[in-house]
């Protein structure tokens, strides 16, 4: 009995040390998660900075009448913890391609643009434009305050069960060559 008490008393410092290390690790992990979700981090790669970021600066999600701004991760990273981790894991592939130099020039970027855009569109369609809806919820959207064209299209889209990205493509970045997607809206060749 005496022996047992002695043993458990010995374990306390180890437990305490473990808890401190654990808390520190969680803090570092969360801090890293937050830091890698900042615009500053995203555009630290020139692939992002000189292509998609430059185009985004021309759009309403960067500058608009009310001054509300949506940055990279507001649209491209889930706001839910587990989906966020899943997307971050997927981003390892993007890091590999950064070091392989798959899109390290404007020409290479444009050559791969359709494929990359289609990936993002598919992702957004599959999750019912979840990130769009974290700001733009259809329940809180007053269609009667919209232009008649927007109202008609939104009501129709709702009836047909469509999701944001199906119509609102090329909103924050320029579109890729759309010849294979909508040839009726591309210059004839």
């Amino acid at each position: 009995m005496e022996n047992l008490e002695k043993k458990s008393a010995c374990k306390w410092p180890i437990f305490f040390f473990g808890a401190v290390v654990g808390v520190l690790l969680v803090a570092v992990f969360l801090g890293e998660l937050n830091y890698t979700a900042t615009e500053k981090f995203c555009i630290s790669c020139h692939e992002m900075e000189s292509n998609v970021y430059m185009e985004y600066k021309d759009t309403a999600h960067y500058m608009n009448k009310s001054g509300v701004r949506a940055t990279c991760t507001d649209c491209h990273l889930s706001h839910n913890f587990f989906e966020k981790i899943a997307r971050k894991t997927k981003a390892v592939n993007e890091v590999i391609h950064h070091f392989k130099g798959t899109i390290d020039s404007r020409e290479k970027f444009l050559a791969n643009r359709l494929e990359m855009a289609q990936g993002v569109w598919a992702e957004m369609k599959a999750n019912d434009s979840r990130e769009c809806r974290s700001c733009h919820t259809s329940e809180n959207m007053d269609y009667s305050k919209q232009s008649s064209r927007a109202m008609t299209q939104h009501l129709k889209g709702d009836d047909e069960g469509k999701t944001c990205i199906e119509c609102h493509k090329g909103l924050a970045h320029r579109l890729p060559d759309m010849q294979s997607i909508d040839p009726s809206a591309v210059i004839g060749r």
């Binding site: 909508d182 009726s184 809206a185 210059i187």
Partner: protein, 143 residues
């Protein structure tokens, strides 16, 4: 020769001094370092019904906003509603058949490249007073 011209120019200036008040530039008679008056910001007519034409060959005016509508070789945002494939879904006016004929008179399978850049002829409207008085009236056929 050059010297003679210079002397002549100098003499002309002395003979006919220009009165600064009579010269009117677009920026008015403000001093060069004063900065010009900011132009009026006009609101684009964002949501109107189609606007009637004033002459028969007039390219129809755009009764909606077009801000951020890119037209480049990858895509024509206007055609995402006005093309023959998309107009029904968008309940928009479709591009007329005339736009499928190229400058050599060939009928093409898709929009003629010469007609691709919509804003060369079709323009959005702002709610503002005309810059000069205008008594233009539509032709008889449209009255």
């Amino acid at each position: 020769m050059k010297k003679a011209l210079l002397i002549l120019a100098g003499l002309t200036c002395v003979a006919f001094p220009i009165n600064a008040d009579e010269v009117k530039s677009l920026r008015g008679t403000r001093a060069l370092d004063a900065g010009s008056e900011p132009p009026e910001i006009n609101r684009i007519i964002a949501d109107d019904r189609p606007i009637p034409r004033d002459f028969v060959q007039q390219p129809p005016l755009i009764p909606h906003e077009t801000e951020g509508y890119r037209v480049d070789k990858n895509y024509n945002k206007c055609l995402s509603c006005h093309s023959w494939v998309n107009y029904k879904q968008a309940k928009a006016t479709k591009v007329p058949p005339t736009h499928f004929k190229d400058r050599d008179g060939n009928e093409r399978a898709n929009l003629s490249p010469g007609r691709y850049f919509c804003a060369q002829c079709h323009v959005h409207q702002v709610d503002t007073k005309p810059l000069v008085e205008n008594e233009f009236e539509p032709v008889k056929a449209l009255r």
